[in-house]
């Protein structure tokens, strides 16, 4: 269970007029309980949805309020939260650290699997599950964008997190790979929170959050939440109504 209790994120921002820096609110206050297995977060660019996603893994800490995952506070128990919550980024290149797929997945396991042979075997198994075992030893640069995103997913899933947070995991992918990654995400046992611009993918979630100007302006089943989002984006009068 993910709980956000009046969580707020603020940041210092330069004054465009040249005055002293001021504090601006990027997100919140947000109060939510996320227990559904599939949650989608949609919103315009710069609306605060990635900040919301980063709060869940402790990558961003709340300036006020609290964020808890299974009772663990992201401020007090950051390391434990990150062990429970895996995070997949939009650009896999930022996430892949080692030269080859096998080594990158093995790196994820260094903290939890002390034996090198077992680590390699488990990394191999993780690559087999996503169909990349044959490319285990090639350079990550030789993989296609879709394969790199799959590898980033495998590297996170190898640690068996309870929750997976994905920040626009399919934005850089073509339709074929997007379908493949979506199917993989759908098949997972974990709770999955996906930030996405893909409304078809969002429609398959159990719950959809719509973020706009740092606020969760809709929190509903996909049908009404996405209707609200569409109205927001097209400037229709429905957008003015409160959810």
């Amino acid at each position: 269970m993910i709980e956000l209790d009046a969580a707020e994120v603020t940041a210092w921002s330069p004054d465009p007029a040249g005055g002293p820096e001021r504090v601006v609110r990027l997100l919140g206050p947000v109060t939510l309980r996320l227990g559904e297995r599939r949650v989608a977060v949609v919103g315009a660019n710069g609306s605060g949805k990635s900040t919301l996603a980063r709060l869940l893994n402790g990558l961003v800490l709340p300036s006020a309020g609290a964020v808890r995952v299974d009772g663990l506070d992201t401020v007090r128990d950051g390391a434990a939260v990150r062990r429970r919550v895996g995070f997949v980024f939009t650009d896999p290149d930022a996430q892949l650290v080692m030269p080859t797929p096998l080594e990158d997945v093995a790196l994820s396991l260094r903290r939890t699997v002390p034996d090198a042979a077992e680590r390699t075997a488990r990394a191999h198994a993780a690559l087999e599950r996503i169909g990349l075992a044959e490319r285990a030893h090639v350079s990550v640069h030789q993989l296609s964008g879709g394969q790199r995103q799959l590898l980033a997913l495998a590297a996170v899933l190898a640690t068996e997190p309870a929750v997976l947070v994905c920040d626009e995991p399919t934005t850089l992918l073509d339709l074929r790979w997007r379908t493949h990654v979506d199917a993989l995400l759908a098949s997972l046992d974990q709770q999955v929170v996906v930030v996405t611009h893909d409304l078809d993918a969002a429609a398959r979630a159990e719950r959809v959050l719509v973020v706009d100007q740092g606020q969760v302006v809709a929190d509903d089943a996909p049908g009404p939440a996405l209707a609200r989002y569409r109205a927001l984006m097209t400037g229709s009068s429905d957008a003015v109504a409160t959810p």
């Binding site: 980063r54 390391a79 062990r83 895996g86 930022a94 996430q95 030269p99 080594e103 640069h141």
Partner: protein, 221 residues
């Protein structure tokens, strides 16, 4: 539309495209040779010892001998020659320039020795990373860095820094290549700022995102 001769190039030579240059270091080439089976720690010690030997032994004969030994080991490990030579191209050019300068300044013996020493060391480094899994290298570095724990530096973090270094070389190459292509597309191929500034900005952004990704994977905890 005419085909491009090189990645991002404008020549219509019809040659097949090549992938981005990825540098000589860092890519594991699996195998079962004697070099592959040697413990990672010993290979790193041998690499360090080779560096000392190259400094101590002077003259082109010793340098040629050292390069011959490393070439023989590379052959024993069945290193893919095409990929290795392509990865080392910038080093070959640098060694050529170094040889030219040293020959002009201090004579041909020093020129040949300097160039061969550089090639020997880079090839030996390539041999070590190609025949050793990164996981094993990290384990050795982490073991060697254990004393640093007393000054507050976690050994795993030091090992991770080495891994990141190996990974970052080809990333820098790719980012510079893409920035150069973007400058060409804007007709600014002759202005170095049009390549250097966006490449530097992108590398800083890449470093920040990589830091976030490491934190997200719990590797920085």
């Amino acid at each position: 539309m005419s085909p491009v001769g090189r990645r991002g190039g404008t020549a219509s030579t019809g040659r097949p495209l090549r992938g981005p240059w990825a540098g000589p270091l860092g890519l594991h080439h699996p195998g079962t040779s004697l070099v592959h089976r040697a413990p990672a720690g010993r290979k790193l010690v041998a690499l360090a010892a080779l560096g000392v030997v190259l400094v101590v032994l002077r003259g082109p004969t010793a340098a040629t001998l050292a390069l011959g030994v490393v070439l023989a080991l590379a052959a024993l490990a069945r290193l893919p020659w095409r990929r290795t030579v392509r990865g080392m191209l910038p080093v070959l050019v640098a060694a050529g320039v170094l040889a030219g300068y040293q020959t002009w300044a201090r004579g041909w013996e020093v020129g040949v020795e300097a160039a061969l020493d550089v090639l020997t060391l880079v090839l030996a480094g390539t041999l070590v990373t190609a025949t050793t899994r990164a996981d094993d290298l990290l384990a050795v570095v982490a073991r060697a860095a254990r004393p640093l724990r007393h000054v507050g530096l976690p050994p795993e973090t030091v090992a991770l820094a080495v891994g990141l270094f190996l990974r970052t070389v080809p990333v820098v190459a790719r980012v510079v290549g893409e920035s150069r292509d973007a400058a060409r597309a804007r007709g600014l191929a002759r202005d170095p700022r049009a390549t250097v500034v966006p490449a530097a900005v992108r590398m800083v952004a890449h470093a920040r995102t990589t830091g976030d990704a490491l934190a997200a994977r719990g590797l920085a905890d």
